[in-house]
């Protein structure tokens, strides 16, 4: 069965909620492993989200315009001796999608106006 265009999966809703929570805590951008770790903590899960599930969801959300991404400066990554990261941030469309999905955004974001404003 095909999904409605633009309809969000539970994992995608969780990513949006978690990303907005992170932003309220001061982290405007997140990368794949960071969101996986946050999801695990929030959901009290035993395992981190599988690679395929996580990156497929991020890719789809980016294509739908709910997230935007940019690659880290390779020099910064090289200085720290690690692969460069892809940083994501939630767009206004992503915030709207979360609200439209009827998720309790206010529960995740104590001060919603402040959280969505930046």
């Amino acid at each position: 069965m095909r999904r409605k265009p633009g309809a969000l999966l539970p994992i995608e809703l969780s990513i949006l909620e978690t990303a907005i929570t992170l932003r309220v805590r001061g982290a405007k951008y997140f990368h794949g492993f960071m969101i996986a770790r946050e999801l695990k903590q929030q959901q009290n899960a035993r395992l981190l989200t599988a690679h395929g599930t996580l990156y497929k969801a991020l890719d789809r959300m980016r294509k739908l315009g709910f997230l935007e991404s940019e690659w880290e400066d390779p020099l910064v990554a090289a200085q720290e001796g690690r692969p460069r990261r892809r940083f994501y941030s939630v767009t206004a469309a992503g915030e709207a999608a979360l609200v439209n999905a009827g998720e309790p955004v206010t529960a995740a974001v104590p001060n919603r106006q402040k959280g969505l404003a930046s």
């Binding site: 794949g32 492993f33 981190l48 989200t49 690679h51 599930t53 996580l54 990156y55 690690r82 692969p83």
Partner: protein
Amino acid sequence: MSRLLDLSIGVTRAWSATYTRGLPHDLRAERREEIDSDLWDHQRLADLEREPANGIANQILFRFVLGIPADLLWRIEAGSTKQATRRTSMNSTPLMRIGLVAAMLPLALLVVFGVTFMLGNGDWENSTEHWLWRVAFLVAPLVGGIGLWLCATQPRLGMALVLAGVGSSAFLMPWMTPITVPIGLIVIAFAIKRSGLVIWPFRPGTTGPTGTA
């Protein structure tokens, strides 16, 4: 670092190299780099938290295995988008449109023959066998033409119809083989080009011998 951890990281990286094979370079490199970064962060965090290496290895393996279906779905979607884009851009060129008309001409000519046979022209009897031959003369080139048309949107079905239509048309006229076989081969080559299927010796995005068909 334990051997199991080495193995789990190696397997995950090998898998990401495998399922991204054949994708455009940038798309492939980005997905692989993202997985590499994730593995590095996972390992780094485990080191900081002093988790046992084998436990981390198991977690990485679980993440890899549980993500395989999503990886494959992503790969299918990424591949189909790439093919559709390539087909659309390729078929929108004037040369390809001219090629389609040119490839349709011999098939249209055969349809005309088929119609005249149906109307009773030629050395035909009014028997069931001869009616079947008449129908075959009409249907075979029609099937080929429909296949040629469908090649751009449904490449596999289109190619199957082209092969069936062109092949049976040639079979129906064995005395015309010196003409039908080369023309049929040109039509088939054009259909391959139009479908965007990667079949040797045609490479995607190149203009092959069918461009002048």
